[in-house]
Symmetry: D2
């Protein structure tokens, strides 16, 4: 169903840390922290999310796309097109 | 102390929505959702955080940097250098 | 040898336009054009290069990676790892 | 007129190197070089252009925006708004 079964725990651990960082940013704004310090935290969360995304994508290529290509046919083409679209969204985000 | 006093509520509203989106990504991974759907949500959160950051930065320039420059002297130079460093971190994140 | 045989002409056309845009930026700086106007052109070139990169990557997945996966074995794993590394460089650039 | 008078030579040197790199990418495509190697060069050019942009922006804040703010009034507000818009374009590009 998905390509990250082996690394699910590590993804969940990273996501929980990111949840904490995001709540931290909300609290910084609530308590009127200095703009630049808030911006530093936002950049850190973006980098952490990017790392999760690149890992998910790598596993998606390794498992889902590879399996579809091995089967061949239209599903394979569709999986590659879908992966390319996801990559474009990440590069632009 | 900071440059976002006027827009604090709007920032907090955006941050709470982002907190919800991040928890949503964790739940997607917990329930083994499809990789590409998780990636789409990650790209959406990155865009939402980017919007918060660009707003904070605009207000920082409008208030903190402008006030420092109006006073002049070393503090002004320091504020501009600090803003440039924050911009570089955002562009690279 | 590479995955863009079918679209080589279109890539070359885009690259020649980008070469012209980059020379345009050099000339803007030579003739002391306004900073913000130079920055607008730099952002445009970055977007144009990004479009070339996303197209090349899509074709690479469609042809080179797909062919390697169809053959299977170590080369397939290596091609996927190499594509993931290239995606990471693009996302971070 | 612009904020980069002191560093114009260094910007021009960087831009000429970037022109060479971009022509290099065109030649790589002309001679059917491997997709991944082309992508590596595209990422390098993006980073080099980003460095030029961040330097121009820093000098713009240091000189043009600072001078406008010191004079005050509507022009100051306009310069800050213009800088914020340029930063947003860079972050999104």
């Amino acid at each position: 169903m998905n390509g990250y079964a082996d690394t699910k725990d590590s993804h969940l651990k990273r996501m929980r840390r990111i949840e904490g960082q995001v709540r931290g940013i909300t609290r910084m704004i609530e308590s009127d922290k200095y703009c630049i310090d808030v911006l530093t935290q936002v950049a850190a969360v973006n980098k952490a999310l990017e790392a999760v995304a690149l890992n998910l994508l790598d596993e998606h290529l390794k498992h889902c796309v590879t399996d579809a290509v091995a089967e061949g046919g239209q599903v394979a083409d569709q999986k590659v097109a879908e992966a390319s679209a996801a990559i474009a969204r990440l590069v632009k985000s």
